[in-house]
Symmetry: C3
């Protein structure tokens, strides 16, 4: 799975992808991204530490992904915090056929144009009903939208699933948002239905977080346990422990 992503959490993304059975590739040079993405199962674009050369590579890789029916998952990290992030995320959405757009409430609110507040890379608020905001953006953009939060919302504008898995420890280490995006990429690459694929990915990672957390665990040990539990997770675990709710079908 081809990633063009930030240099902060890239190692975590590579390792979590491997835990879920994928083969991570990180490559961002304009000279090679087209060739690399053509044989990928999915393309994950994450703008956490964006710059001009990287956005160019994302557009180039994304167009080639579209030509080859390689699904694109976009994580518009920190969109709304700066005009440059907003402009870049919109250029990616306008220029590419994105399969799944995944962000926190603030980021999705900003892209929906309904109001969202982002400080740094963290959501600090959103105007309006979260579910409606996600559904309208999905409808308008013609893609699957994942709005992460205590309850994750996954929707294509027609069908909406709510996922209640996860643990608050996941918010106490760096990289869980990016890792979730990579897992969405892994699941979407083997699932025709993006809503089901993305929802299963969010549930799966939430269950991993629940299992990794135990009374009094610190963030260093929790992060280590996250990879252990991810590698140990079985489809049966996901089936038995996923807390899905159909909000709209």
């Amino acid at each position: 799975m081809h990633h063009i992503t930030n240099y902060v959490t890239v190692n975590d993304c590579a390792n979590i992808t491997m835990c879920f059975g994928g083969a991570p590739v990180m490559a961002d040079a304009v000279e090679e991204v087209e060739e690399m993405v053509a044989m990928a199962s999915a393309l994950v674009l994450n703008i956490g530490t964006l710059n001009r050369a990287q956005i160019d590579s994302m557009l180039m890789a994304g167009r080639e992904a579209n030509r080859n029916d390689v699904p694109i998952v976009l994580d518009p990290v920190g969109v709304g915090a700066t005009a440059y992030r907003t402009k870049s995320a919109q250029a990616l959405l306008d220029g590419l056929d994105v399969a799944v757009l995944k962000g926190n409430a603030g980021e999705i609110g900003v892209l929906a144009g309904t109001g969202g507040q982002v400080r740094g890379v963290d959501s600090v608020g959103i105007s309006g009903d979260r579910r409606r905001v996600a559904e309208r953006l999905a409808e308008r953009r013609g893609c699957c939208v994942v709005m992460s939060g205590a309850t994750d919302i996954v929707t294509d504008g027609k069908r909406t699933l709510l996922i209640d898995n996860g643990h608050e420890m996941m918010g106490r280490i760096s990289g869980t948002g990016c890792m979730a995006t990579s897992i969405v990429g892994s699941f979407v690459s083997v699932s025709e239905d993006h809503v089901i694929g993305a929802a299963a990915a969010m549930a799966a990672f939430g269950i991993v977080g629940e299992r990794a957390a135990r009374e009094g665990i610190g963030p260093g040990s929790f992060k280590c346990a996250l990879f252990d539990e991810a590698a140990a997770l079985t489809p049966v675990d996901v089936r038995d422990r996923a807390k899905f709710k159909v909000a709209r079908e």
Copy 2:
């Protein structure tokens, strides 16, 4: 807390910042650093893997930080090892109003112009009395200087504090120097007095290191424990275990 830092230890810096309650942001594109830093609590500049575009971003972000009274913490990693590092660190010190300058003995010696030896990114020696070197540089640059070592020296040229916390295991993993700088940023962002803030940060991280080390622990387990202990540290722990000595007041 906004970081413009190296790609080697950036993940460690993000996680340790979160352990101390901060919200790390890593962003280095010239297109957005000014906007990003304007809402930051502190700006950490670390030249571990510097390049021209990054130094430009540091200067741009730093000037905006100064305009907004956002304190700047500079870690001139490896200064003295190459002419380019020395030139770049001096350009940052000349162009910006730096709140805290933190380096090892060799790095501080190089910047003080009193002689310091740096090989790669490690200090291999310093000419003259360490404390005096730090005090004179602080006085000349009008900032707080932290010279890390077995005994850390924190001074603004008038007052000088010595901190005796820490553990030798901290020198056996990559990133502890950079993490200490991030913690100084966190403390300085909530402390009017930079000498007290920086000294408390160095003591706090030293205590974390003492607690994480246990008989026979290896570097992998030690690094994991470092994050656990950092997240568990309380103000009372720092008060009770900090080994401060006032050398000049």
Copy 3:
């Protein structure tokens, strides 16, 4: 030890180098690589996330390394997956006097021109006898070739050693290939005989992997244990547990 390497596994490479007693330096700006490499014990070049500026820095650093008799270890990550990787790896091999060239079977096969298949950064096959392919490439390039795999092959075209250490868990986390290259750099820097040095490095890391793996361990805990075991490894451990076989002398 000077690295010019990818941003995915760079932290792992820094830490494993320290576990083996080395002092890692990561620096890639054209303005400083020559000065930095001149005082290095070895230069590790890894093209995992290559780009044009980085290849320029590698060539510049490599030429200076050659002038100063600093041994170069090259890991042509993903060569064959894209034309750009192949062209870049060949430019490095043509322009520099490389001491050790280390890759998986697919990568070595591509560089040998005897046929190799690489998908992303993973080997998916090689045409012909693995040992012969490595030996011929070593002979043609006049360097030591390490072909990693279940059995590692180390050869200079005249002598060939086979190493049977290692554990399948090493393939389940990101970065073990890159870490092995860094360890080869550490060993080659203190060993006149590159074949012996590289073989000892591969055996040493294989033993570390064997010790870190235990029944049912997950990838997060395994990675942590890898650094612990690396730091604890003694020359006696390597002597007693290395599984060398001389295939050609």
